[in-house]
Symmetry: C2
Subunit: 238 residues, 2 copies
């Protein structure tokens, strides 16, 4: 199996760094191939604009999806995007490794999504959900938080303080993985590693390793079946 | 009243551009002062790292929040961040104007949030929710979508296809505006403007103007009251 870890943390000695190192070690020991896109180390540019393309469909008006479709049809993706697309195509399992910043992905990872998941190649023309371009692949989130677990899962009187975990995960689980056709594995969330001692951190990494091995045996949650829904109708407003 | 519009679209002739232009015109005509942070035009860097700071708390280990607190205590924010912080401090109403990309903010706007809303200055030390650093301000989303309204609000058999609108809005309404103490005004969502004709687009812009004037009279939805919740406890894991 080929695994792509898209890693979004600027400190190699961070707990995120330790998680990616551990995942790489565990997966390689199990005979899998691991590719890591270390976005900060690569100096990945997360800003989606004309630099995504070597081709131009309309030089007077930048409509991102039109340029994406045109680039797809004419081999016009910039080398940095094309390289990530190839890694994504080659993988069986995609792992997003990131610290939860403002209840979402750090901008450098959001920009990887914005730029790499281009219309034409990764979705569009009926390619979405169960008919998605990335069908057959699985996606998994591995993330760290600043706050402790009860602040996110809200079982102990914290209901309503933070956004619910389902809302935090929906944009990536549903909006990215499912939308492009991937099955979704259970996330591994390392709660507030900055507040753990060394022994607790080691146990949390062991927990991640066990989680990975367990999830690799799972099919993952399948995306919605698009045919069960009415086709998208672009309702004309008055 | 001072209004800050953080604008995140790369095409000035886009519908997002038209919305910001219309908001500016309406607000100025009503006697308000409008500042626009046009992130693409500014070449805003959305990647949060040591370039956020002119100071260094720990050169061997980059912990973002520690460096933010240190920069706050020592006047060490980089000029591009400091300028945005000053605009934010000066505003009474913050508007995020963006196209919905992958069910969230474009990376360039997410990076504005990641970098400008720094610990110490914008949250932390008991400053959050109703005691937030931005208490007294109001926040509002103005956005465009690629798909038509039923795909997001799901009243017509689309339930479960896309992530629910509540999940799409939660990271910004709850996670950014409420977290920092702002009251939240109703968003204005221009559904699929690329599929509208000129007359419909003009009507949608008129709708935005009417929405703005109406919302300006509202207090907005208040953030959770932090004192009603147990204090955050960093639960030690085994």
């Amino acid at each position: 199996m080929n695994v792509l870890i898209v890693h979004a943390h600027h400190e190699p000695k961070s707990f995120n760094g330790a998680m990616t190192a551990r995942a790489t070690k565990e997966l390689e020991a199990a005979g899998h191939t691991v590719v890591v896109s270390d976005l900060y180390a690569m100096g990945f540019n997360p800003v989606s604009d004309r630099r995504n393309f070597t081709t131009v469909a309309n030089g007077d008006y930048l409509k991102q999806q039109r340029e994406e479709q045109h680039a797809h049809d004419n081999g016009g993706f910039a080398p940095d995007i094309s390289a990530e697309m190839d890694k994504l195509d080659a993988c069986d399992l995609l792992i997003f490794q990131y610290p939860l910043w403002w209840f979402g992905m750090p901008a450098i990872l959001k920009g990887w999504v914005d730029r790499v998941l281009a219309m034409g190649r990764m979705y569009g023309g009926g390619k979405w959900f169960d008919s998605g371009a990335l069908s057959g692949k699985r996606g998994m989130v591995a993330m760290t938080t600043g706050g402790p677990e009860p602040m996110y899962v809200a079982p102990e009187g914290y209901e309503g303080l933070n956004p619910p975990l389902s809302s935090i995960m929906a944009p990536v689980h549903h909006g990215v993985f499912w939308f492009t056709g991937m099955r979704v594995l259970e996330p591994y969330i390392a709660w507030a590693p900055a507040h753990l001692d060394d022994e607790q951190r080691a146990a949390t990494l062991d927990g991640y390793a066990a989680h990975l091995h367990e999830q690799l045996e799972r099919e993952g949650a399948p995306p919605p079946v698009a045919a069960e829904y009415p086709p998208p109708i672009f309702v004309r407003k008055q």
